[in-house]
């Protein structure tokens, strides 16, 4: 029983510690992007493209998706057409953060469970 609790506590601690660099790695890869549809209509009105949705912090690793310019808010313009043609559904940083925070909650819960287990075992073993 004690060994099982040690394994759980160790895994929980590793998960908790590892979650920080994992999140940081995704955050460093992400950029504020605005997906746009390029077409001659938008060009006629002086736009690089028609915005699709609002600017989002996304992880798009294919450099060909970027149009090389930014919108007024400083978001990198990304070709919606390129994403569709290549079947790219970009990962959002907020999704990564949501998943990581849930993993952290689970890690904390597992750590507390292990500590509670140790405390109960020690209490039983007292003369």
């Amino acid at each position: 029983m004690k060994w099982a609790l040690i394994v759980i506590a160790a895994l929980a601690a590793i998960t908790l510690v590892a979650s920080f660099p994992v999140e940081a790695q995704y955050a460093s890869k992400s950029k504020l992007v605005q997906r746009v549809q390029q077409d001659p209509g938008a060009e006629l009105f002086g736009d690089a493209g028609t915005p699709i949705g609002s600017p989002q912090q996304m992880i798009i690793e294919d450099p060909k998706a970027y149009l090389g310019s930014k919108d007024e808010a400083g978001a990198e313009l990304v070709s919606e057409g390129y994403l569709k043609e290549n079947g790219i559904y970009p990962l959002q940083l907020q999704t990564v953060r949501y998943v990581v925070s849930n993993i952290r909650y689970a890690g904390i819960a597992a750590l507390l469970f292990s500590l509670l287990g140790f405390w109960l075992i020690n209490r039983k073993q007292r003369p």
Partner: protein
């Protein structure tokens, strides 16, 4: 002399009236329809997803000189694509947009007020999922008279681009977000429409 002046003023007024006429525009379809973009965006802690359609139709009246107009815009709700086929199926379902029973969302203006530059405030009736609400939304109206550049861009005649963005609550339109989707779909969603309409 006075008679000549009077005739001169009369001609100027006539020319002005000719320029100030209300024009009727039809939202582009067929080969140009892809240029229209209607999006619905849901933002939750988990993700922001955007459903998108090009199936926008309707007619507009616009006077670029008097800066006034009116219009009715329709969006084919069934054609909204979220990027995930199973999510599209859910969204079309009875619990969500129920597109079989309510295939279109419509905005019909009752009054349009010029704000500045290309900015207007349109008040009108927005109907979605069989529920009609009166709303006032900011609209950008951009006009280009028929020219070589307009033709080069693939349009015929005069062209306007209308850009509107407004927020709605799904619950106001009879959508009850099921417990399983809470946290993944927001009750507050943003609707954006960018559509081109021409006089020919």
């Amino acid at each position: 002399m006075n008679k000549k002046l009077f005739v001169g003023f009369g001609l100027t007024a006539l020319v002005g009236m000719a320029h100030a006429q209300m024009m009727t525009f039809t939202v582009v379809g067929d080969r140009l329809q892809y240029r229209n973009v209607a999006t619905v965006e849901s933002n939750t802690e988990f993700e922001t997803f955007t459903g998108r359609s090009s199936a926008v139709s309707g007619t507009l009246k616009f006077d670029p000189t008097k800066k006034t107009g009116s219009g009715k815009i329709m969006i084919d709700m069934k054609s909204i694509d979220t990027g995930i086929p199973s999510r599209n199926d859910h969204m079309n379902g009875e619990m969500w947009l129920n597109t079989t029973k309510y295939p279109t969302a419509t905005f019909e203006t009752t009054s349009v007020k010029f704000v500045k530059g290309e900015d207007y405030r349109a008040t009108g009736k927005f109907t979605m999922r069989g529920v009609t609400k009166t709303m006032t939304v900011p609209v950008k109206v951009r006009y280009r008279a028929a020219s070589e550049a307009v033709t080069k861009a693939g349009f015929a005649g005069n062209v306007v681009q209308i850009i509107a963005k407004f927020d709605i609550k799904l619950s106001d339109f009879g959508v009850k977000i099921p417990a399983v989707a809470e946290g993944k779909v927001s009750n507050n969603v943003s609707l954006n429409v960018s559509a081109y309409a021409t006089t020919k």
